[in-house]
């Protein structure tokens, strides 16, 4: 199992992500954004969190034109599995690989704290180790995490089971920290091979650090 992790100028979660996947037994490689291809043996491509290009213009807007992104699109079109975490989610929406967009949080504050999430759909490789309705405790850390999609787009998401996770309270009831449409925290594409979420499962790998619920999420990718 080989996990390739992308690194843009301003990415800052690549080593946490590497540590998390190594702890689960995967081989990892960090690839600089100037690369024009990704390693051929890649089983999972992760666009890690951070502040690519300082979030200038819009979060993820400039990263989408980095040389490596052409290879990412090709990889995804050929069915390769792609996971975008936080800034990675923003990059994937900007690149058109995931529907919707991430806006400034409604409260205008940067939010950094543990938050509970509810599993909405698990018929995908990312969340298949969890059950629908499960509540997981995963840290969030973002300024632009306010997910937006228009009404038609939202209908499509539900029709295809593309809504993965919503922000909730500990009982799974609605609790929306940032103004996201329907409290959406993570989505996937129609083909269910490109995943994006604002919360950081790679930061929830050890209970002594607050939560190990991230293991069940990232493990889903490792069965291959």
């Amino acid at each position: 199992m080989k996990v390739t992790i992308l690194q843009f100028p301003g990415t800052n979660c690549e080593y946490d992500t590497e540590h998390a996947f190594k702890a689960l037994g995967a081989d990892t490689e960090i690839v600089w954004h100037k690369a024009e291809s990704i390693p051929a043996d890649t089983n999972l491509l992760v666009v890690a969190g951070g502040f690519s290009y300082g979030d200038y213009l819009r979060s993820g807007a400039i990263a989408k034109f980095s040389p490596v992104m052409k290879a990412v699109s090709t990889y995804a079109e050929n069915g390769g599995k792609v996971l975008g975490i936080c800034n990675g989610f923003q990059v994937l929406t900007e690149a058109g690989l995931l529907p919707g967009a991430l806006k400034r949080n409604d409260g205008l504050h940067f939010i950094s704290k543990h938050h509970t999430l509810k599993v909405i759909n698990n018929d995908n490789i990312f969340l298949e180790k969890l059950n629908k309705g499960d509540v997981v405790n995963i840290p969030i850390a973002h300024h632009d995490g306010n997910y937006f999609i228009d009404e038609d787009g939202l209908k499509d998401l539900y029709a295809n089971n593309q809504v993965l996770l919503t922000y909730s309270d500990e009982n799974g009831d609605v609790k929306n920290p940032n103004g996201s449409v329907d409290s959406i925290a993570g989505v996937c594409n129609k083909n269910k091979n490109v995943f994006g979420l604002m919360p950081h499962p790679e930061r929830a790998m050890e209970s002594i650090l607050g939560s190990d619920d991230g293991i069940k999420m990232l493990e889903g990718f490792l069965k291959a």
Partner: protein
């Protein structure tokens, strides 16, 4: 040389939290009679051409590709 002024703002119907906060601040400063506030950004480009229609089509392409995210934003282009 043509100067292009691009104004990018959130689409109507997309909640503009910054605009709302500014509106609230104006209210608390007793500036009454403000019905709505929208906050956007302005991008000023100096273009190496004198051909207005070329400038317009170039800048439109720039907006579609990079300067605006048309999922949530509208843009207006002014050439001077």
């Amino acid at each position: 040389m043509i100067k292009a002024i691009v104004n990018v703002s959130l689409k109507m119907g997309v909640l503009d939290s910054q605009g709302k906060a500014v509106h609230h601040a104006l209210d608390s400063l007793n500036f009454s009679g403000v019905n709505d506030v929208r906050v956007g950004k302005q991008i000023i480009l100096k273009l190496d051409t004198d051909d207005k229609s070329k400038a317009m089509s170039d800048v439109e392409k720039m907006c579609e590709d990079l300067l605006a995210n048309t999922v949530i934003e509208d843009y207006e282009i002014e050439l001077v």
